[in-house]
Symmetry: C2
Subunit: 218 residues, 2 copies
């Protein structure tokens, strides 16, 4: 069965995956880019961005895992862009330029319909207005037997966690304090239920945690 | 200058330092004792409890640091015991039996006055009704030039963090999810302000973080 996987989701020590005041200029909120310093220092992340150099090692290993065996993606509308409410026009095509780093179909959860947008390099953004299960079904069908990667943001991950639909979640904890923003472990109705911690390991730049769905009783 | 230090304060991945439903039977709330499994497996913690065995290594090193150079303690009233409101009688003398593992004066923050309680082995509980600064002043005076250790719980640590009075905070992150309880990073008015992460390291059982007051500009 294809899995729904989260990679590189990064939380501050005080529990935030984005800082306060998210905007066009600050897509991750004030100081939010500090969360991802560990990731942008890795060789894999730099290669994905068309850059040389970067470090190998534990952090890089985790980033590299996210690039293997994935055939489609899902993200929330607030991760796709800063526009809220109806699409005023259809100029906005994501934060990632003409050739986004996905290279497969990406399903964007939104309440506001919009035709698909085909980008260079194999990425097509599809806009899904009928909820997280419909988005997952479409993504699984599009992935052609490979896994589906769920990107974020916090509200989208929370919806899939509440529904118990995430199979494997790589959470990085960055050694920063943000003081506010979007909490990851919130709006979960006393959960997440049914997840175990399968890995706990640190580099000097980040702690890596892997949450997996607990084995079901036979 | 003597320091105010916190050691072994343990948070779940989802940010709780105690589970939901704290009570006499569950002083750390439902499932809360899972937070401290890493600690009770160490040689130092077992020795402090009068037990043989236990493991050396990273986790033990962190527990051992908390036993060095401390001359007095501070804790909140909810950590001292499960009784809320006025002391109905003075039978309750803490969770730790006749010979508590402190062996120095411990100042308990409370709104309800009570005479000091002298235990075996050098521990005396003093009840402080005039706030965190008064408790710190008294503890520093009692520590005779050594440091003061702040034990918890969450609300007490938050008060001292908001006031910027903690010099050194060892936070352990345990690979468990509690789903509810007492959050550590809450009620901090957008802070903690002025702290840096000075260490980040993991054993398989816990991630250890050290937060220190940021160096002041000269």
């Amino acid at each position: 069965m294809p899995k729904l996987r989260v990679h590189n989701l990064t939380m501050s020590l005080d529990g935030y995956v984005a800082g306060p005041g998210q905007s066009l200029d600050n897509p991750l909120g004030v100081d939010g880019e500090r969360l991802h310093e560990w990731m942008f220092a890795t060789r894999t992340a730099r290669q994905l961005g068309g850059l040389d150099g970067g470090e190998k090692g534990l952090d890089d290993d985790f980033v590299a895992r996210g690039e293997v065996g994935v055939g489609a993606g899902i993200m929330g509308r607030n991760m796709f862009g800063p526009i809220r409410g109806p699409w005023e026009n259809e100029q906005w095509t994501g934060w990632w330029g003409d050739n986004p780093p996905y290279h497969f179909p990406v399903f964007v959860l939104t309440h506001h319909p919009r035709p698909p947008v085909t980008m260079e390099g194999g990425t097509t953004f599809h806009f899904v207005t009928d909820g997280i299960n419909a988005a997952l079904d479409r993504a699984v069908a599009a992935a052609g037997g490979q896994d589906v990667r769920l990107y974020g943001g916090a509200a989208t991950v929370q919806q899939y966690l509440r529904a118990g639909l995430i199979d494997d979640l790589h959470l990085a904890i960055a050694p920063v304090l943000l003081g506010g923003g979007a909490r990851l472990f919130d709006h979960l109705d006393g959960g997440p239920q049914g997840y175990d911690c399968a890995e706990l390991v640190s580099s000097p730049a980040a702690t890596h945690v892997r949450l997996v769905r607990a084995a079901q009783a036979p």
